[in-house]
Symmetry: C7
Subunit: 77 residues, 7 copies
């Protein structure tokens, strides 16, 4: 029943290079290629798009998201 | 009257592998298989569904929830 | 006039095994059997009910409440 | 002009055993007998009443108030 | 151009014994005699009055204001 | 392309004695002579005016602004 | 798949001297020349413009943005 406990950080390491979805406080969703993160869960994404419960509204070549604003991080289904 | 004091973290360790319900600030509920957590109560779930006081609206293969957004964690009744 | 100063944590230790009421930020009330707590005031309750200023709406076999959401903890009158 | 600087904590020590009024974030007022406090300004009151800008609505034999919710503490006039 | 740098704490030390105005998060203003403060900017005032953008509504013999609620502190003009 | 990296604190040191504008959470703007600051970005201003998206509404001989309420600090254009 | 992991701070170092866009809590956007930052992600920008989901409304010769208000930082596309 208990699988290999990939601690959240190990899991994030494994997501590097993949496209992920990041939900922010306030409802924004950012999808992009996950490039790096640090101990505060500050995240670096590339080729990213920010949507707010609707069609894509903003594109970013790259951006740093401050960890304190992150609700969850997920590789798209 | 005082039972074995399974400290919250021991309790969470015992929930690993089980399906749990996580209530987030703002009212979202996420149900999924509890895979791991760290000292900040960042949680990793798999095969998860996020609902907002209504029918299931989002599915996730896996996701990391940032601990600061968590209100409570519970194995479903 | 000054009684034995049971520091808040000693008081909480003495409440273990009793039914307590926990008020959360946002107005939720959770009543349940108080099983354990840690240094962050993360609380573990069992046989718990969550109400929101009205009739009982949710039951939980057990749940961990994140300390940062707690407003007060009280043994019912 | 500068009186004996009773640091806030010394002042709180001197209030132990007295009835105090505690204002919480969100507007609740709790009056009760001040029994103890800790380094996080978590407070223990007994024989307490919680009001919300109106007639008394809740009584508590005893309760622990989490320090982060406290706005001010005062011995009633 | 650069005057004697009275660091904020030195300035507060110099205000002890004077009447000050304290603005709180949420818009409350408290005027009173400034008696002491600690490293968290918890403040002790005496002979204080709390107003909310209107006529004085509450008097306090003395009160401790929790530092995290303070926006600014000022000796009245 | 990369100029001398005047770290934010060095920059603030250089602003001492000048009139600055401080934007606070909630929309208030305070303009005044910048006298000092500490490691928490608590700021001391003199001869200050507080406005709220409108004509000047409050004057202060001097005031301490708690750092946690500050959004940005800028020497007026 | 995993590129050189330019940690968020390395990435920010590489952005120094470039024009960046900074999104703040509450919806403000500030564009300006990125001059420096510190360990709290306090940012110094020059020749900056602040907009609030509309035409440019404020210009700044230079400003320090307090890190806790930052949501994301991005070099414009």
């Amino acid at each position: 029943m208990n699988d290999r406990r990939s601690k959240p950080r190990e899991f994030l390491e494994n997501c590097l290079g993949e496209r992920v979805e990041v939900a922010l406080k306030g409802g924004d969703l950012v999808r992009g290629e996950f490039k790096s993160f640090d101990e505060h869960l500050n995240l670096k994404l590339e080729d990213a798009r920010k949507t707010k419960n609707g069609p894509n509204d903003r594109k970013f070549k790259s951006l740093i998201i401050r960890g304190s604003n992150v609700v969850f991080i997920s590789p798209p289904v």
